[in-house]
Symmetry: D2
Subunit: 397 residues, 4 copies
């Protein structure tokens, strides 16, 4: 399953995610055995004058023309780290050019775009993977392997919350993330999408039906400059409208019958990044909170009566997924390392490693359909069934 | 507001709750200053031969005829600790006889009965209080006073879970609590009702609208004896049907706009009595879990930047509601003490102390209407508005 | 082992501990099966006019003459709840009169007194038990049974801290507890004694050697009135000297080789009553903090690799010592219940139940000798060996 | 304070620490603004054939001759990551050649060597820094700034534990770390040294006096191969002697009067890397556990009565030391990042940034003297005073 061929990488996008992916491409080969030699080749940004910054990040080359780069013969991987509204165009071009594609989530801003990408990926030869990085948290990967191996039995409850608070202050400034045209949705697509993906992946089950409600608690916000005290007239009319949700909550029915309760918000004062999930099965339970990302709580109903209790597993031991490649148990990992692990899996996927390239574009497009069902349910005050992609279904057959 | 008159008490019901209330009536005067002298007078049970047990519990008198007792001149308080389907009859008789009435929750098994009781209470002279004992947890009473005083600002999120696991094992035996005719509902009325009451009381707001789903994961269970290994043929037909919900989840809109997410279940493997609530406001948050009943977590958004974090307040200090009457800080209280505090409040209510007698029968009947709305929403897959009692509305005017 | 005889109880001391014991004697028979019928008979106080208060607490009789009471034919149990400097005189008289004696800790203020009491107890027919109530915490009793049954293997580490903070403020007022003549010692005897007793009891081992240091951080304090703002000139000379330790720390060698580290302080700002102990053995560990008294943390080294972690056992389940007599799992107990359990054990000891009457006066006198060794070690900057009582040693033979 | 000169780095040592430092030198410039351009130049190892591995780690050059490298004109920094017994020779050569030197802890295996290194550093022009990496944990750096700014007042208690468990199993294999000749000491120098450094650095105070005890619970262990099941006769004689301490505990007096309690062990079953410290002051407290390295607990005695409690600060916010350069709050950092921060400080120290180069060799040599005092105290069962280096004292003057 290994190959001695090198893998020449282009990262598209020089922002926060571009920097993070750069670090991951650099770090992965130093700690993990990889089947191919990784060669960071070119960083693509929007600015004409980005070369110096690219060089500081260790890139041998910089370009501001993604179209030219994705078609170059000497590029094997296109890693898309741009905002969501550009994903489809870039990824489709890269797939058409025969590249392996890693695309940041959300796959696209619409179900239509996501479907086109999934169709193209299904027809393409390269790997097409969407970057749901939380799957690469060692504690969650451990949870997945435990659940898959039957450690918690048949699943009844999924309880997922993604709580942030950066919009808690009504005068926190407006950003493009609060503009529906650019961001697609608010808390739902940004963080709720992670909860949904994690829940479906951990359980190996799919959400069949949702009943949702959304809130926008603060309908308008000051523009960035004013909030920073850099002038402005203070007239209320100058505030910008928030056109996405601040928060969303929904109940869900999984195909296997489990009851899901989901909540995502940017207004949970005091919760910086509480990406939490608890799953209760007939034989045990797991619980996780990303604010303590190196821990997995696990309850085993088979423990002796009177000796039962949730265990705090420090999920950075040599037996644990990913963690074993790093330092000894009890020496924690950070957010950054999720992206390193994602690169490791992606590289193995390029030589055919089973499941390493998940979620595929198809899986990510199906997730987009769940998001759409949530929005429709909230808009119509009605229970909505989720609809899977036909292509994906055919694949299953 | 005080009175030197004594208060002669009859407790109706000799089961678990009867014992608990007995203990509370005995203990309250030893630790709290009360405006009236409490005299436990008579315990009423169903058994002919209950006198010895009553005596062991310290009761000077025993009776198996509640009708006779509630009409006696020498009884001032009737404390109803029987199963829910008998509440209405006993409480109505006691109110008619001019007694003060403390009635265990749920107030009744139907909205109709609850309304009749609330109407009678509104017309009566005595105190009529429903026993939502969790309100008397010092940490929650502290939370309520902080919220009322504005410490967390305008409320956006209410996140309440009541998680138990005594039905997690599919062969856990059947009990009357799983029979709709006797219990009214399952997790919803038994524990979800506590979450709803706590949420409305803490926020001072009302649930206006709900969207619910319910589950019965295990449709039938072995009768008590078989589960204990005392024989039985093992034929599946011998199992008894479960006619109530194992679990319920719903989203809610509060009148003030807050977004509520509620979940109650008896199948959350490993969670023995996780009665949890978190409330996020514009200026702070509180979080509570009854499994750590002596602690309140509190986040103050006004703390200095970089010094912010959830505080673990040990809510048994001299400044805290109820706790100050007991022992020094850090010496915890137990479940039992909620009932002691309930008695304290009830006694003060009999001399007119404001709010001490809450929740009133009217408030409890309104809660019953929320429960009914949850059930209707689940049955119809539709958002249901809650309807308040007219009497109560008139009172507000 | 049971008896139908009644047990008539006199409590000596009407202060905080007297009230607590009163509550325990009243409560124990209502929740536990006891071999004898408990009859609270008389409360003894120092005040002439204590009868009304005694009556309010439910006592049929009050006396201000303990000598007369301890010799009455109709008294079976003398429960000594007075300050430590009076324990010896009262307990010796009660033992001489053939009573069962329960004596609050510390057994006495000096090794000499403690030895006399232990000698008298060894020669007496009645039960003579010292009230180390923390042994009756369900979580600690569970820990003891697990350790005794070998669940954590051979013991290497004992790590005990008893952290309080009521003297953290340098202007917290002086009390009799800060006066060596009356209190014997400071944090050492008041709370450190609990840690030592718990450590020896849990391990079944004895401290053989100690190396200690003490601190008095605040050498003088305002008298009670001044601290309350009730006048005073504020002249520094008016402050009263603190003649006991604020804090003590020591390392210890147990006879079996385990390494102990102990610390007791009243100056640990923010720690209200953190009575903590952790024990590491070759096969597992336990950890406990009284601020979360209903929880025991337990680590089992035999759990599968990669599935290991400290479990949070809620030690109030039906399988757990004491807790099973109360309400369902997850419904916590409080500080008060330790005293109830102590009464239960004491009553069983009066009919000969093995170990129920521990710690005996002999065991408590040996503890006093450990305290003395700690003080001598601190005074001399030297390692001190602890010396056991001869009587007790003979008993072992 | 900045310079445009580049900083050419040689790392000596290709083991675990060499890899960690390599990663740090690579990562620091990508996330932090640095005053000089960092150029990793050469990796030095012991093996002849190390070039390929060095190249995989991104090093342009490899050498197996450290003497030659430390004298090269084109090297500005020598980063010593070899075992402790070689530190003195390499560091002294590097200082003599005018290089900036970063040396892993412990500075040396003996006080004599440490003093020679400190003397050389005092006379040298370059930066000479010892790698106590835990100082670069954001939560601890936050604690230090809070303590320095007076947030917890006058310090009374220091409570430090460093608990590991990799030797808990008596058949865990022997390693060079258990050989006194090579490792110097056991838990004391390996992990206890971190606790001592952290304690002195956080408090800004020095340990004046110690009273210590040590334990070696398992006197011999199987050689590495046998433990792995790779043959061996199983004869007990084949086990190798453990000549260092498994555990150490000591009480300490700080110059300012604070009471310290320290414990370090590799036998605390279930504790993987519990590097804990709690400090109680007159105005507040801080508490930390490296197993939750992104959190700092903080208690403020000035919080309103009844609203007090330990706050869980997530120490990865923009206001926090180091953390602000990374990703948003709530997205944790890992063990690796301590070394990145160490590089950042070191580079700033090369352009004269105050305190950035701490601990200096002089400070590290003083720490070595505390370790020696601990060992002498344990050996002699006596309280030992610590003795500072004269040079350092002169510096202070």
């Amino acid at each position: 399953m290994t190959s001695n061929e090198r893998l020449r990488v282009a990262v598209i996008g020089g922002g926060f995610m571009g920097r993070m992916h750069t670090q991951a491409w650099r770090t992965a080969p130093r700690f993990f055995r990889l089947p191919r030699r990784v060669e960071p080749a070119v960083l693509v940004g929007r600015r004409r004058d980005g070369a110096a910054d690219a060089s500081a990040l260790g890139w041998p080359e910089y370009s501001d023309d993604w179209r030219e780069v994705v078609e170059r013969e000497d590029i094997d991987v296109v890693d898309v780290c741009t905002p969501g509204d550009t994903h489809a165009e870039i990824a489709l071009a890269a797939l058409a050019a025969g590249k392996h594609v890693l695309c940041e989530k959300p796959l696209a801003n619409s179900v239509e775009d996501a479907d086109r990408m999934a169709d193209a990926a299904a027809a393409a030869t390269g790997v097409a993977m969407c970057g749901f990085s939380y799957r690469r948290t060692p504690a969650l990967a451990l949870a997945r392997s435990m659940i898959t191996d039957g450690w918690i039995g048949a699943i009844r409850h999924v309880r997922a919350q993604y709580l942030q608070d950066w919009l808690s202050d009504p005068d926190a400034p407006h950003t493009w993330r609060l503009d529906r045209d650019r961001a697609g949705s608010g808390a739902l697509g940004d963080i709720g999408a992670h909860s949904i993906d994690t829940a479906q992946w951990l359980t190996g089950d799919r959400i069949a039906e949702v009943s949702a409600t959304v809130r926008t608690f603060v309908p308008d916000r000051p523009p960035m400059a004013r909030a920073n005290g850099l002038g402005g007239t203070g007239a209320r009319g100058a505030r910008l409208p928030v056109t996405v949700d601040d928060a969303v909550a929904f109940t869900a029915r999984f195909e296997g019958g489990a009851l899901g309760v989901f909540e995502a918000t940017r207004m949970a004062t005091g919760r910086r990044n509480a990406n939490r999930i608890e799953i209760n099965g007939s034989a045990g339970s797991i619980a996780f909170d990303f604010e303590r990302m190196n821990e997995l709580e696990y309850y085993d109903a088979a423990d002796a009566a009177g000796r039962q209790g949730f265990r705090r597993i420090q999920a950075t031991e040599s037996e644990h997924p990913y963690a074993g490649a790093w330092w000894p148990a009890g020496h924690g990992l950070g957010y950054e390392h999720l992206f390193v692990h994602q690169v490791v899996d992606f590289v193995w996927a390029t030589v055919g490693a089973t499941d390493a390239g998940a979620p595929t574009f198809g899986e990510a497009a199906d997730l987009q359909r769940v998001l759409a069902a949530v929005e429709q349910s909230a808009a119509n005050d009605a229970v909505m069934r989720t609809v899977r992609r036909r292509t994906e279904q055919r694949r299953d057959a």
